[in-house]
Symmetry: none
Subunit: 218 residues, 4 copies
DNA sequence: AATGAATGAGCGTTCATTCAT
DNA sequence: TATGAATGAACGCTCATTCAT
């Protein structure tokens, strides 16, 4: 047993036909995220989640019949929430560069939240041992890069599709990589702003430098 | 049980005074890394390590009296190995920019190995729930940034200390962030070379652009 | 939990006053038998029965308030059905020996049905750990032997009551014993006919051989 | 999960390399049989076996790493014991008919032991839901019938092979069928002797009556 | 150095049952 | 009638660990 398994059916609707049950199921998912963050996936147990959610193990398993089902539902929800937040960033009516700066800033500062700092490394680790989680993750980052790509294209419409995708990949990967260094409780957290400045400058240069980025002469 | 604990004593030398015992302990450490990579830390058990190493659980516990001791020794070894490899990169006698390019390339291409791709996310995850591991990690990345910083300073000696450190942080974090995207078995792996090109250009521009990186005018 | 318990009240009528309710309860009993046969009593659970019957666990427990109640009702029904079938055999108007042969044949061939092959061993096993089931079983086999006894007496009216009962016991027990060998899916199933021939001959000889069966001289 | 699974490897040797371990493993098997008889397979749990054997659950699982392994070892042992006893019956130097009578008597009276009365119905039930157990059972009864067949042939050498096998099947099945009626604690137990007389007479007639058993004229 | 014996805690899961809706 | 919510106990099993051999 290597952890989360592939999902057979897509439970679009959460368990809980009665109103009480629905809020209970939500509570459980909140608790699940809290436990994952507090204790890590290697200490993510149903009993802990039940405790955190304030119900009994047997009752938790009434809502989520297996650990896998709970983990899938939890990932579903976290990723959907994350994508929804990404969507809201895009909708601002700023000029291209300011929008880009705003996006980078939002993503970067989000690293500072405990939730993001701790949750995502768990996700990356899980994805390395579970295809379903890997697929979830790819879906999420795909959407992430689409958003970045659109902003990039607005700044430099001359860029080809493929290059936009590669730049978006570089930018998104670079930002994610800061999780372990400027995230919540991390040693470089106090310098988030300055690193954000470097990052933004570097990303903008890349976006503007054209189809074949030419390194400035020595 | 909340995972890896702080270490009481510092085992500079591995147990086993005989040549054979030394080898045995190292076999175990190799097996431990293999298990961590294959199954993830949430499935990292002493029994599995013993199986992988070809000895009995009781015997394994003779070499490493607790799970924590084994994990610490394993991290010690992996990080030492990693730092040794970093040191070797530096020792090449190239001109500043070529050396920098070489460093970036080496680090980047290393992401493609299964070992790196899978091991480091486990480390990041672990560090979020264990101070000792966090300290190990910081030590490792500190050395990593020193190396990068030296190379950066050679290219642009006008940069201040603090700024060098920040640029090194940005670069190292950015590279690490690519683990989940261009690493072994990852969806963008085929485009490693192109992304490496973008990254190198972007990093070099940043290094050259001076104390206060100014984003080029629109 | 030590399995089926003694029954407090005798539910002569199934729950459900409406025609539909009556049908539902019978559906459940059919499902219960199906589950018992498919999975064995050690895997006989209310959830499985509910699934098989196409209703929810909560609803099933409306019809049968406990597992014991369901098991008792199921045994009641199966045994009643079995006794009814036995009664029909008797009613044929053949001459004594032909009737006897017909009875033996019917009982023997019935072993071949999956239902009989699997259900009865479960019953025997259960009876060893539950008095109520043992009582059911004894009632059923008592009627079985009465039927056989009547047929035996018609063939050889000289036999005493006790001897008739003993011969009937031997015959019925012998037939039951073939369940595990010539029953549905059993290795000797293909030879049912021949074994039936041996059995019938042996039984008839016994019935005819008088009050004190004397083994023919060597 | 439908109970006992097929066995991958044949553990000819019981667990327990140390002397202490070996006797412990035997204790566990004894306890397992006791639990099976006392509570039935549907209440056969590792915790109960551990209690009965006077060790802890964790230790029991050191000897038998799974429930299946325990059940297989238990069946192995019981069946081997049974076959050994059968073998001893045969070795008596009586004349053919007396030997046959002795065999029948031994088998019949064995039904009276609680062990036999309760154990075998569990075995029959299990065999209906598990191939491995079915194979065990067939192996055991095959040997049983060989023994009977040899005795039958000594009495009536004119019988063909196939007929001997069929008669042996009939006899063995008939005897087994008495388990539920004259076994330990069963209602007809007091009449075991008389039924044994009927059975022996009937079987002997069958054996002697020649290749095509002809039912005596009406 | 190496292995087995033994423990106690905890795991995910299943279950019969009760109660509210 | 019918269903979901909730409970508590037990299940087989895995685990890190300690101790004796």
């Amino acid at each position: 047993m290597s952890g989360v398994q592939e999902r057979q059916t897509a439970p679009k609707t959460l368990p809980g036909t009665y109103a009480k049950g629905r809020t209970r199921a939500e509570d459980v998912l909140d608790a699940a995220v809290a436990v994952l963050i507090k204790h890590g996936y290697h200490n993510f147990t149903l009993r802990r989640v039940a405790d955190e959610a304030g119900l009994r193990l047997g009752n938790l398993q009434h809502y989520f019949p297996s650990k896998d089902a709970l983990v899938q539902a939890m990932l579903d929800r976290v990723i959907d929430t994350y994508l929804a937040r990404l969507g809201r960033i895009q909708s601002s009516g700023l000029d291209p560069e300011d929008q880009f700066r705003k996006i980078i800033e939002t993503l970067f500062l989000d690293l500072n939240t405990r939730r993001t700092t701790v949750f995502f490394p768990e996700l990356w680790s899980l994805a390395n041992h579970n295809r379903q989680v890997a697929a979830y993750m790819e879906r999420m980052y795909g959407r992430y890069r689409e958003l970045l790509g659109a902003s990039i294209t607005r700044i430099n419409p001359a860029l080809g599709e493929k290059q936009v995708r590669q730049i978006a990949l570089f930018i998104s990967a670079s930002i994610e990589g800061h999780t372990m260094f400027v995230g919540h409780g991390k040693p470089w957290r106090a310098q988030t702003e300055e690193v954000l400045g470097l990052a933004t400058a570097s990303f903008l240069w890349l976006v503007r430098s054209g189809e074949t980025p030419v390194v400035p002469e020595k």
